[in-house]
Subunit: 263 residues, 2 copies
């Protein structure tokens, strides 16, 4: 059981920012990543469609035999976490709960959350913060153009700066800002520049990887690191997919993408 | 047979620009539109995935009984026209052939084509122009950000102007420019402003609707216009979908969207 891989999934390849952090802090673990690049993005779709697609991803990874699952996607975590736990025989770590738990540890009174329309419209961040600490004021904003901008690699671009300025108008000097979409760390620089240097930017990859490590440790499921493997599956692959995957891994992609067809 | 509707399909709702023109020049015909909003966009995906998805759209419309099919999508037309004709019992009009046939009627020597990565990388416009007239020089450019910009309604936006300027750098004063993606007519103004007032912009909706009218007329399949119906199916519907659909129809949407699940 301990030797089984960790299953990580996302609507596309943005979740690789989470996979990278998991590989960094759990170097003795095998990984199976699944990105639904044939149907990305999920963040502009409705709940029913997102739930159906996500259940297909879970079923694929469960068939591969994994010891735990990580949802490396805010949209999926916000939309159908309980529906996925209902069909999964192994524990599921989502990307939102550990991030909120981490944020409430600091003494902030106001926090910003930016994400896809599906994530922001779900209201899940407001609900979770209210559960932990009713005194924190949560300000949210959907940024639908950030995913295509990141996927096109428009990182140091005047148009990206203008779009960021428009979305983040009310976030100037906010104490903390959660990047509630796994694509957004790619745009970290332009976001930091727009909100100002005083804002602490929170990338959910770190608290999520930490929560996974705690779970494996508590359940006595850590691997000894002998003969580990990395597998990266995608449901569609174009020339561009490998380029962006490499971009998400700071140009050091630790494997190769393999195309799979979901039943 | 004459009373059967015309089936029109697209990866999403951009094809409504074609449906609108068909309704305008064929007011006596019933229409069934199908947009795959659960899996849009197609233009950044690979051939195998685009072909599989498109065949599912054709199968759905054929089951509804239609007298002819119109591919209101450049990406699908460029990627798998012959694969779709192989499985369709009724004639299929694509959006590319009629547009090239229309363009070669004028005495131009140079033409621009802008579209999705899948359309541009297919090289289909170069091949078709060469078949009709070897003297026309074809200059192409993929504009992957134009679809999300149009879907977000960023029509009079400085960021859109900057992105357009970047894509269309080599298209200034080109005699003719084909908008080889059914989303792009939404950005007509900013595209015209960027290339200059001398450029004739060609929207494939008109030649495609004309080719359909010719086919129906030649095959004696025109309807008499008694009790016509319009049906608009989508595979996913969010609040945003209806808003954008309305935008594509100049705020006069002639029906309502209905959600369907493809087998």
């Amino acid at each position: 059981m301990n030797k089984l891989p960790i299953g990580i999934f996302d609507s596309g390849i943005g979740g690789l920012t989470v996979a990278k952090e998991i590989i960094r802090i759990l170097p003795n673990e095998s990984i199976i990543y699944l990105g639904d690049t044939a149907r990305v993005p999920y963040g502009t779709r409705g709940k029913e469609v997102i739930t159906k697609f996500s259940q297909e991803l879970v079923n694929f990874l469960v068939q591969q035999r994994v010891k735990t699952l990580v949802i490396a996607c805010n949209t999926i975590s916000a939309t159908c976490l309980s529906e996925l736990r209902n069909i999964s025989p192994v524990p599921i770590i989502d990307v939102i709960t550990p991030t909120v738990e981490y944020a409430v540890l600091s003494s902030i009174t106001k926090i910003g959350v930016i994400g896809t329309p599906a994530t922001i419209n779900s209201g899940v961040y407001e609900k979770l913060f209210a559960k932990f600490d009713k005194k924190i004021k949560v300000k949210t904003q959907a940024c639908p153009m950030f995913v295509p901008l990141a996927e096109e690699g428009l990182i140091n671009d005047k148009a990206t700066e203008l779009i960021a300025k428009n979305y983040l108008l009310g976030f100037k000097n906010i104490p903390s800002l959660i990047l509630a979409c796994t694509h957004y760390p790619i745009l970290h620089k332009v976001i930091q520049k727009t909100v100002g240097p005083k804002t602490q930017i929170i990338d959910p990859a770190k608290p999520t990887a930490k929560a996974l490590k705690d779970l494996l440790s508590q359940s006595n499921l850590l691997n000894d690191g002998k003969s580990i493997t990395y597998k990266f599956y995608v449901t569609d692959e174009t020339k561009r997919t490998a380029e962006i995957a490499n971009l998400f891994f700071d140009n050091k992609f630790p494997g190769k993408l393999e195309k799979v067809v979901l039943d």
